[in-house]
Protein backbone atom coordinates (compact mmCIF):
# COMPACT_ATOMS: atom_id res chain seq x y z
CA UNK A 1 0.00 0.00 0.00
CA UNK A 2 1.18 3.48 -0.79
CA UNK A 3 1.45 5.66 2.29
CA UNK A 4 3.10 8.71 0.73
CA UNK A 5 -0.17 10.66 0.89
CA UNK A 6 -0.14 10.25 4.64
CA UNK A 7 3.39 11.55 4.99
CA UNK A 8 2.62 14.39 2.64
CA UNK A 9 -0.43 15.23 4.71
CA UNK A 10 1.59 15.05 7.91
CA UNK A 11 4.30 17.40 6.67
CA UNK A 12 4.17 20.71 8.55
CA UNK A 13 3.49 23.08 5.60
CA UNK A 14 0.63 20.92 4.36
CA UNK A 15 -0.87 20.39 7.80
CA UNK A 16 -0.57 24.10 8.52
CA UNK A 17 -2.53 24.98 5.41
CA UNK A 18 -5.16 22.29 5.81
CA UNK A 19 -5.71 23.12 9.48
CA UNK A 20 -6.23 26.76 8.53
CA UNK A 21 -8.77 25.88 5.87
CA UNK A 22 -10.64 23.42 8.11
CA UNK A 23 -10.96 25.72 11.12
CA UNK A 24 -14.08 27.68 9.94
CA UNK A 25 -15.82 24.39 9.07
CA UNK A 26 -15.62 23.51 12.75
CA UNK A 27 -15.85 26.98 14.25
CA UNK A 28 -19.03 28.31 12.65
CA UNK A 29 -21.21 25.22 13.17
CA UNK A 30 -19.89 25.06 16.73
CA UNK A 31 -20.94 28.67 17.37
CA UNK A 32 -24.36 28.14 15.81
CA UNK A 33 -25.01 24.92 17.72
CA UNK A 34 -23.91 26.40 21.04
CA UNK A 35 -26.17 29.43 20.57
CA UNK A 36 -29.10 27.16 19.61
CA UNK A 37 -28.39 24.79 22.49
CA UNK A 38 -28.15 27.65 24.99
CA UNK A 39 -31.43 29.12 23.76
CA UNK A 40 -33.09 25.72 23.96
CA UNK A 41 -31.62 24.96 27.36
CA UNK A 42 -32.03 28.31 29.07
CA UNK A 43 -35.28 29.52 27.52
CA UNK A 44 -37.29 26.75 25.89
CA UNK A 45 -36.69 23.84 28.28
CA UNK A 46 -39.13 23.74 31.22
CA UNK A 47 -37.76 24.01 34.77
CA UNK A 48 -37.02 20.70 36.48
CA UNK A 49 -39.78 19.63 38.87
CA UNK A 50 -37.24 19.05 41.65
CA UNK A 51 -34.25 21.25 40.90
CA UNK A 52 -36.10 24.23 39.39
CA UNK A 53 -33.90 26.36 37.19
CA UNK A 54 -30.70 25.19 38.87
CA UNK A 55 -30.53 22.12 36.65
CA UNK A 56 -29.84 24.29 33.61
CA UNK A 57 -26.13 24.33 34.34
CA UNK A 58 -26.13 20.75 33.06
CA UNK A 59 -26.03 22.26 29.56
CA UNK A 60 -22.49 23.44 30.27
CA UNK A 61 -21.44 20.88 32.87
CA UNK A 62 -22.21 17.67 30.99
CA UNK A 63 -20.57 18.74 27.67
CA UNK A 64 -17.47 19.90 29.57
CA UNK A 65 -17.23 16.59 31.43
CA UNK A 66 -17.72 14.68 28.17
CA UNK A 67 -14.99 16.69 26.46
CA UNK A 68 -12.58 16.38 29.38
CA UNK A 69 -12.53 12.66 28.64
CA UNK A 70 -12.78 12.89 24.85
CA UNK A 71 -9.79 15.23 24.72
CA UNK A 72 -7.71 12.89 26.88
CA UNK A 73 -8.60 10.06 24.50
CA UNK A 74 -7.71 12.19 21.49
CA UNK A 75 -4.43 13.18 23.09
CA UNK A 76 -3.54 9.58 23.91
CA UNK A 77 -4.38 8.36 20.40
CA UNK A 78 -2.34 11.18 18.84
CA UNK A 79 0.53 10.40 21.23
CA UNK A 80 0.40 6.70 20.32
CA UNK A 81 0.43 7.51 16.60
CA UNK A 82 3.39 9.81 17.14
CA UNK A 83 5.22 7.20 19.17
CA UNK A 84 4.60 4.25 16.86
CA UNK A 85 4.93 5.85 13.43
CA UNK A 86 7.21 8.68 14.51
CA UNK A 87 4.92 11.32 13.06
CA UNK A 88 5.88 14.67 14.54
CA UNK A 89 2.57 16.23 13.63
CA UNK A 90 0.79 13.76 15.91
CA UNK A 91 3.02 14.83 18.81
CA UNK A 92 2.25 18.45 18.00
CA UNK A 93 -1.47 17.64 18.07
CA UNK A 94 -1.08 15.90 21.45
CA UNK A 95 0.81 18.91 22.79
CA UNK A 96 -1.91 21.22 21.48
CA UNK A 97 -4.73 19.11 22.96
CA UNK A 98 -3.47 18.85 26.56
CA UNK A 99 -4.22 22.43 27.73
CA UNK A 100 -7.65 22.31 26.03
CA UNK A 101 -8.50 19.15 27.91
CA UNK A 102 -7.25 20.58 31.18
CA UNK A 103 -9.44 23.66 30.62
CA UNK A 104 -12.54 21.57 29.98
CA UNK A 105 -11.79 19.51 33.07
CA UNK A 106 -11.45 22.67 35.14
CA UNK A 107 -14.71 23.96 33.65
CA UNK A 108 -16.47 20.69 34.51
CA UNK A 109 -15.16 20.94 38.08
CA UNK A 110 -16.20 24.57 38.45
CA UNK A 111 -19.70 24.04 37.03
CA UNK A 112 -20.02 20.91 39.15
CA UNK A 113 -19.20 22.93 42.25
CA UNK A 114 -21.68 25.67 41.26
CA UNK A 115 -24.35 23.03 40.65
CA UNK A 116 -23.48 21.43 43.97
CA UNK A 117 -24.23 24.58 45.96
CA UNK A 118 -28.04 24.50 45.49
CA UNK A 119 -28.20 20.70 45.29
CA UNK A 120 -26.05 19.63 48.23
CA UNK A 121 -25.90 22.95 50.05
CA UNK A 122 -22.13 23.08 49.73
CA UNK A 123 -19.63 23.84 46.99
CA UNK A 124 -17.71 20.63 47.25
CA UNK A 125 -18.76 17.09 48.06
CA UNK A 126 -16.45 14.13 47.70
CA UNK A 127 -18.71 12.62 45.13
CA UNK A 128 -17.46 10.05 42.67
CA UNK A 129 -17.77 12.03 39.47
CA UNK A 130 -16.29 15.25 40.82
CA UNK A 131 -13.42 13.33 42.37
CA UNK A 132 -12.61 11.45 39.20
CA UNK A 133 -12.70 14.75 37.28
CA UNK A 134 -10.23 16.10 39.83
CA UNK A 135 -7.91 13.13 39.31
CA UNK A 136 -8.25 13.62 35.55
CA UNK A 137 -7.09 17.21 36.06
CA UNK A 138 -4.05 15.86 37.92
CA UNK A 139 -3.32 13.52 35.01
CA UNK A 140 -3.45 16.44 32.56
CA UNK A 141 -1.20 18.42 34.89
CA UNK A 142 1.29 15.55 34.94
CA UNK A 143 1.45 15.30 31.15
CA UNK A 144 1.83 19.06 30.77
CA UNK A 145 4.43 19.33 33.54
CA UNK A 146 6.49 16.49 32.10
CA UNK A 147 6.46 18.09 28.67
CA UNK A 148 7.41 21.45 30.12
CA UNK A 149 10.34 20.10 32.15
CA UNK A 150 12.18 18.45 29.26
CA UNK A 151 14.15 20.83 27.08
CA UNK A 152 14.82 18.49 24.19
CA UNK A 153 11.63 18.57 22.14
CA UNK A 154 11.89 15.07 20.73
CA UNK A 155 12.40 13.56 24.17
CA UNK A 156 9.63 15.72 25.64
CA UNK A 157 7.22 14.55 22.94
CA UNK A 158 7.93 10.89 23.43
CA UNK A 159 8.04 10.98 27.23
CA UNK A 160 4.72 12.82 27.36
CA UNK A 161 3.33 10.28 24.88
CA UNK A 162 4.29 7.34 27.11
CA UNK A 163 2.71 9.06 30.11
CA UNK A 164 -0.47 9.83 28.17
CA UNK A 165 -0.80 6.18 27.15
CA UNK A 166 -0.17 4.98 30.71
CA UNK A 167 -2.83 7.46 31.79
CA UNK A 168 -5.43 6.25 29.31
CA UNK A 169 -4.91 2.65 30.45
CA UNK A 170 -5.39 3.82 34.04
CA UNK A 171 -8.34 6.08 33.38
CA UNK A 172 -11.06 3.39 33.46
CA UNK A 173 -9.50 1.88 36.59
CA UNK A 174 -9.46 5.27 38.28
CA UNK A 175 -13.00 6.00 37.14
CA UNK A 176 -14.49 2.77 38.41
CA UNK A 177 -12.51 2.65 41.64
CA UNK A 178 -13.57 6.18 42.51
CA UNK A 179 -17.13 5.25 41.60
CA UNK A 180 -17.00 2.22 43.83
CA UNK A 181 -15.43 4.33 46.57
CA UNK A 182 -18.37 6.66 46.64
CA UNK A 183 -21.64 6.63 44.78
CA UNK A 184 -23.50 9.60 46.12
CA UNK A 185 -24.14 11.32 42.82
CA UNK A 186 -27.28 10.89 40.81
CA UNK A 187 -26.99 8.21 38.11
CA UNK A 188 -25.49 9.30 34.81
CA UNK A 189 -27.74 11.71 32.93
CA UNK A 190 -27.01 10.18 29.56
CA UNK A 191 -26.36 6.61 30.66
CA UNK A 192 -28.34 4.98 27.87
CA UNK A 193 -29.12 6.81 24.67
CA UNK A 194 -31.92 4.33 23.99
CA UNK A 195 -33.81 5.14 27.16
CA UNK A 196 -32.81 8.61 28.28
CA UNK A 197 -33.82 9.64 31.79
CA UNK A 198 -34.44 13.23 30.65
CA UNK A 199 -37.60 14.52 29.01
CA UNK A 200 -37.34 15.22 25.28
CA UNK A 201 -37.59 19.01 25.46
CA UNK A 202 -34.83 19.02 28.06
CA UNK A 203 -32.73 16.47 26.20
CA UNK A 204 -32.39 17.96 22.72
CA UNK A 205 -30.58 21.15 23.88
CA UNK A 206 -28.14 18.91 25.75
CA UNK A 207 -27.40 16.84 22.65
CA UNK A 208 -27.01 20.03 20.60
CA UNK A 209 -24.62 21.41 23.20
CA UNK A 210 -22.63 18.16 23.22
CA UNK A 211 -22.18 18.35 19.46
CA UNK A 212 -21.45 22.08 19.60
CA UNK A 213 -18.80 21.67 22.29
CA UNK A 214 -17.20 18.80 20.38
CA UNK A 215 -16.99 20.87 17.20
CA UNK A 216 -15.67 23.78 19.24
CA UNK A 217 -12.92 21.50 20.52
CA UNK A 218 -12.10 20.62 16.92
CA UNK A 219 -11.81 24.28 15.96
CA UNK A 220 -9.65 25.20 18.97
CA UNK A 221 -7.47 22.16 18.41
CA UNK A 222 -6.84 23.20 14.81
CA UNK A 223 -5.97 26.77 15.82
CA UNK A 224 -3.64 25.55 18.56
CA UNK A 225 -2.12 22.99 16.23
CA UNK A 226 -1.25 25.77 13.79
CA UNK A 227 0.36 27.77 16.59
CA UNK A 228 2.26 24.68 17.70
CA UNK A 229 3.49 24.07 14.14
CA UNK A 230 4.63 27.71 13.91
CA UNK A 231 6.53 27.38 17.18
CA UNK A 232 8.17 24.14 16.18
CA UNK A 233 9.03 25.18 12.64
CA UNK A 234 10.06 28.73 13.38
CA UNK A 235 13.44 28.21 11.70
CA UNK A 236 12.13 26.28 8.71
CA UNK A 237 12.54 27.58 5.19
CA UNK A 238 8.91 27.03 4.09
CA UNK A 239 7.72 29.37 6.77
CA UNK A 240 10.04 32.18 5.71
CA UNK A 241 9.09 31.91 2.05
CA UNK A 242 5.43 31.53 3.02
CA UNK A 243 5.53 34.69 5.11
CA UNK A 244 7.41 36.63 2.47
CA UNK A 245 4.74 36.00 -0.13
Amino acid sequence: MNWTWLHKLASPPHAYGIAGRLTPWFGWPAGALIVAGLYGGLVLAPPDYQQGDAFRIVYVHAPSAWLSMLVYGTMAVAAAIGLVWRIKLAHAAAAAAAPIGASFTALALATGAIWGKPMWGTWWVWDARLTSELILLFLYAGVMALRASIDDRDRADRAAAVLAIVGIVNLPIIHYSVYWWNTLHQPATLSKLGKPSMAGDMLWPLLVMLLGFTLYFGAVLLVRLRAEILRRERDAGWLRTGLAQ
Binding site: F138, L139, G142, R158, V166, W181
Partner: protein, 228 residues
Protein backbone atom coordinates in the same frame (compact mmCIF):
# COMPACT_ATOMS: atom_id res chain seq x y z
CA UNK B 1 26.15 -10.50 30.88
CA UNK B 2 26.30 -10.70 27.08
CA UNK B 3 23.69 -11.11 24.37
CA UNK B 4 24.17 -14.85 24.64
CA UNK B 5 23.29 -15.04 28.33
CA UNK B 6 19.84 -16.54 28.71
CA UNK B 7 17.01 -14.11 29.38
CA UNK B 8 16.25 -15.57 32.77
CA UNK B 9 19.92 -15.67 33.74
CA UNK B 10 20.27 -12.00 32.78
CA UNK B 11 17.23 -11.13 34.87
CA UNK B 12 18.64 -13.02 37.86
CA UNK B 13 21.96 -11.21 37.43
CA UNK B 14 20.27 -7.83 37.30
CA UNK B 15 18.21 -8.68 40.37
CA UNK B 16 21.27 -9.91 42.30
CA UNK B 17 23.32 -6.86 41.42
CA UNK B 18 20.66 -4.40 42.54
CA UNK B 19 19.87 -6.38 45.66
CA UNK B 20 23.52 -6.62 46.74
CA UNK B 21 24.18 -2.96 45.97
CA UNK B 22 21.18 -1.99 48.07
CA UNK B 23 22.30 -4.17 50.99
CA UNK B 24 25.75 -2.59 50.90
CA UNK B 25 24.23 0.88 51.02
CA UNK B 26 21.62 -0.07 53.57
CA UNK B 27 21.68 3.42 55.05
CA UNK B 28 20.07 4.69 51.87
CA UNK B 29 17.56 1.89 51.89
CA UNK B 30 16.60 2.62 55.49
CA UNK B 31 15.77 6.26 54.76
CA UNK B 32 12.30 5.67 53.28
CA UNK B 33 11.54 3.31 56.18
CA UNK B 34 12.46 5.93 58.77
CA UNK B 35 10.39 8.40 56.78
CA UNK B 36 7.44 5.99 56.87
CA UNK B 37 7.62 5.68 60.66
CA UNK B 38 8.03 9.45 61.05
CA UNK B 39 4.99 10.31 58.94
CA UNK B 40 2.84 7.87 60.90
CA UNK B 41 4.11 9.51 64.11
CA UNK B 42 2.95 12.90 62.87
CA UNK B 43 -0.72 11.90 62.97
CA UNK B 44 -1.00 11.11 66.70
CA UNK B 45 0.97 14.29 67.42
CA UNK B 46 -1.35 16.36 65.27
CA UNK B 47 -4.65 14.74 66.24
CA UNK B 48 -4.11 13.78 69.87
CA UNK B 49 -3.27 10.50 71.55
CA UNK B 50 -6.80 9.08 71.71
CA UNK B 51 -6.38 5.50 70.46
CA UNK B 52 -10.04 5.06 69.52
CA UNK B 53 -9.80 8.07 67.22
CA UNK B 54 -6.45 6.95 65.82
CA UNK B 55 -7.85 3.52 65.03
CA UNK B 56 -10.44 5.15 62.77
CA UNK B 57 -7.78 6.85 60.66
CA UNK B 58 -5.13 4.11 60.91
CA UNK B 59 -5.84 2.64 57.47
CA UNK B 60 -5.54 5.98 55.71
CA UNK B 61 -2.48 6.98 57.72
CA UNK B 62 -0.64 3.76 56.93
CA UNK B 63 -1.42 3.99 53.24
CA UNK B 64 -0.61 7.66 52.77
CA UNK B 65 2.65 7.21 54.67
CA UNK B 66 3.51 4.14 52.57
CA UNK B 67 2.69 6.04 49.38
CA UNK B 68 4.97 8.94 50.30
CA UNK B 69 7.75 6.66 51.54
CA UNK B 70 7.73 4.60 48.36
CA UNK B 71 7.84 7.82 46.36
CA UNK B 72 11.00 8.69 48.26
CA UNK B 73 12.41 5.23 47.65
CA UNK B 74 12.03 5.58 43.89
CA UNK B 75 15.09 7.83 43.90
CA UNK B 76 17.13 4.66 44.33
CA UNK B 77 15.66 2.81 41.38
CA UNK B 78 17.37 4.15 38.25
CA UNK B 79 19.11 7.36 39.25
CA UNK B 80 22.49 5.91 40.24
CA UNK B 81 22.50 3.58 37.22
CA UNK B 82 21.75 6.53 34.98
CA UNK B 83 24.53 8.61 36.50
CA UNK B 84 27.30 5.99 36.28
CA UNK B 85 26.39 4.61 32.86
CA UNK B 86 25.14 1.18 33.99
CA UNK B 87 21.82 1.90 32.34
CA UNK B 88 23.46 2.36 28.95
CA UNK B 89 25.22 -0.95 29.39
CA UNK B 90 21.88 -2.59 30.10
CA UNK B 91 20.41 -0.95 27.00
CA UNK B 92 23.31 -2.21 24.89
CA UNK B 93 23.39 -5.68 26.41
CA UNK B 94 21.06 -7.11 23.77
CA UNK B 95 18.74 -8.44 26.47
CA UNK B 96 15.03 -7.59 26.49
CA UNK B 97 14.91 -4.37 28.45
CA UNK B 98 11.42 -5.04 29.80
CA UNK B 99 12.63 -8.20 31.56
CA UNK B 100 15.63 -6.37 33.01
CA UNK B 101 13.30 -3.58 34.16
CA UNK B 102 11.06 -6.17 35.82
CA UNK B 103 14.06 -7.69 37.62
CA UNK B 104 15.23 -4.28 38.78
CA UNK B 105 11.72 -3.44 39.94
CA UNK B 106 11.52 -6.68 41.89
CA UNK B 107 14.87 -5.98 43.56
CA UNK B 108 13.67 -2.50 44.40
CA UNK B 109 10.49 -3.88 45.92
CA UNK B 110 12.47 -6.42 47.94
CA UNK B 111 14.60 -3.72 49.57
CA UNK B 112 12.08 -0.84 49.73
CA UNK B 113 8.62 -2.38 49.80
CA UNK B 114 9.13 -5.57 51.78
CA UNK B 115 10.72 -4.00 54.90
CA UNK B 116 7.88 -1.49 54.96
CA UNK B 117 5.35 -4.33 54.82
CA UNK B 118 7.07 -6.10 57.72
CA UNK B 119 7.20 -2.91 59.75
CA UNK B 120 3.60 -1.91 59.10
CA UNK B 121 1.85 -4.15 61.70
CA UNK B 122 4.06 -2.66 64.39
CA UNK B 123 3.18 0.88 63.34
CA UNK B 124 -0.48 -0.12 63.06
CA UNK B 125 -0.36 -1.49 66.61
CA UNK B 126 0.89 1.88 67.84
CA UNK B 127 -2.18 3.45 66.18
CA UNK B 128 -4.50 1.26 68.22
CA UNK B 129 -5.21 -1.36 65.55
CA UNK B 130 -5.95 -4.82 67.02
CA UNK B 131 -3.24 -7.41 66.22
CA UNK B 132 -5.84 -9.54 64.42
CA UNK B 133 -5.71 -7.12 61.48
CA UNK B 134 -1.97 -7.64 60.91
CA UNK B 135 -2.46 -10.23 58.19
CA UNK B 136 -4.74 -7.97 56.14
CA UNK B 137 -2.41 -5.02 56.68
CA UNK B 138 0.60 -6.93 55.39
CA UNK B 139 -1.32 -8.31 52.42
CA UNK B 140 -2.75 -4.92 51.54
CA UNK B 141 0.57 -3.11 51.77
CA UNK B 142 2.45 -6.00 50.17
CA UNK B 143 0.26 -5.89 47.08
CA UNK B 144 0.10 -2.10 47.24
CA UNK B 145 3.84 -1.46 47.41
CA UNK B 146 4.22 -3.79 44.42
CA UNK B 147 1.77 -1.64 42.45
CA UNK B 148 3.54 1.51 43.61
CA UNK B 149 6.93 0.14 42.58
CA UNK B 150 5.60 -0.68 39.11
CA UNK B 151 3.90 2.68 38.58
CA UNK B 152 6.80 4.50 40.20
CA UNK B 153 9.26 2.78 37.89
CA UNK B 154 7.45 4.26 34.89
CA UNK B 155 7.52 7.75 36.39
CA UNK B 156 11.08 7.37 37.54
CA UNK B 157 12.21 6.24 34.08
CA UNK B 158 10.41 9.16 32.44
CA UNK B 159 11.97 11.78 34.73
CA UNK B 160 15.54 10.43 34.62
CA UNK B 161 18.14 13.16 34.60
CA UNK B 162 15.67 16.03 34.82
CA UNK B 163 16.45 18.97 37.06
CA UNK B 164 13.38 18.96 39.30
CA UNK B 165 12.85 15.27 38.69
CA UNK B 166 11.78 14.18 42.15
CA UNK B 167 9.12 16.88 42.44
CA UNK B 168 7.80 15.97 39.03
CA UNK B 169 7.83 12.29 39.94
CA UNK B 170 5.21 12.84 42.64
CA UNK B 171 3.03 14.76 40.22
CA UNK B 172 3.17 11.92 37.70
CA UNK B 173 2.84 8.91 39.97
CA UNK B 174 0.38 9.96 42.70
CA UNK B 175 -2.71 10.31 40.45
CA UNK B 176 -1.99 6.89 38.94
CA UNK B 177 -1.66 5.37 42.41
CA UNK B 178 -5.01 6.61 43.69
CA UNK B 179 -7.02 3.47 42.84
CA UNK B 180 -4.51 1.36 44.77
CA UNK B 181 -4.84 3.76 47.70
CA UNK B 182 -8.64 3.46 47.63
CA UNK B 183 -8.72 -0.33 47.72
CA UNK B 184 -5.67 -0.76 49.95
CA UNK B 185 -6.93 1.58 52.64
CA UNK B 186 -10.41 0.05 52.35
CA UNK B 187 -8.99 -3.44 52.94
CA UNK B 188 -7.18 -2.33 56.09
CA UNK B 189 -10.21 -0.41 57.29
CA UNK B 190 -12.42 -3.50 56.92
CA UNK B 191 -9.89 -5.61 58.81
CA UNK B 192 -9.59 -3.03 61.59
CA UNK B 193 -13.33 -3.26 62.15
CA UNK B 194 -13.20 -7.03 62.15
CA UNK B 195 -14.74 -7.60 58.71
CA UNK B 196 -13.41 -9.69 55.87
CA UNK B 197 -11.03 -7.72 53.63
CA UNK B 198 -11.27 -10.26 50.83
CA UNK B 199 -12.97 -8.11 48.18
CA UNK B 200 -10.59 -5.13 48.08
CA UNK B 201 -7.61 -7.45 48.44
CA UNK B 202 -8.70 -9.42 45.37
CA UNK B 203 -9.09 -6.18 43.44
CA UNK B 204 -5.64 -5.08 44.59
CA UNK B 205 -4.23 -8.42 43.37
CA UNK B 206 -5.85 -7.85 39.98
CA UNK B 207 -4.27 -4.41 39.81
CA UNK B 208 -0.89 -5.84 40.71
CA UNK B 209 -1.22 -8.47 37.98
CA UNK B 210 -2.06 -5.72 35.49
CA UNK B 211 0.86 -3.59 36.65
CA UNK B 212 3.40 -6.41 36.55
CA UNK B 213 2.44 -7.32 33.00
CA UNK B 214 1.95 -3.84 31.51
CA UNK B 215 4.47 -1.71 33.38
CA UNK B 216 7.75 -3.39 32.22
CA UNK B 217 7.26 -2.55 28.51
CA UNK B 218 6.31 1.01 29.46
CA UNK B 219 9.39 1.29 31.68
CA UNK B 220 11.56 -0.06 28.88
CA UNK B 221 10.14 2.46 26.41
CA UNK B 222 10.63 5.27 28.90
CA UNK B 223 14.22 4.23 29.63
CA UNK B 224 15.01 4.21 25.90
CA UNK B 225 13.53 7.69 25.53
CA UNK B 226 15.35 9.05 28.57
CA UNK B 227 18.81 7.73 27.75
CA UNK B 228 19.11 8.89 24.17
Amino acid sequence: MTARTGMLAAAVLAFRRDFLLALRHWGQVAQPLVFFVMVTTLFPLALGPDLAQLREIAAGTLWVAALLASLLGLELLFRADHADGTLEQLLLSGQPLAILALAKGLAHWAVCGLPLVLLAPLVAFSLGVPPGASCAIMLSLGLGTGILSALGAIGSALTLGLRRGSLLLGLLVLPLAMPALIFGARAIDLAVHGDSARGPLLLLSAMLALCVTLAPPAVAAALRISSE
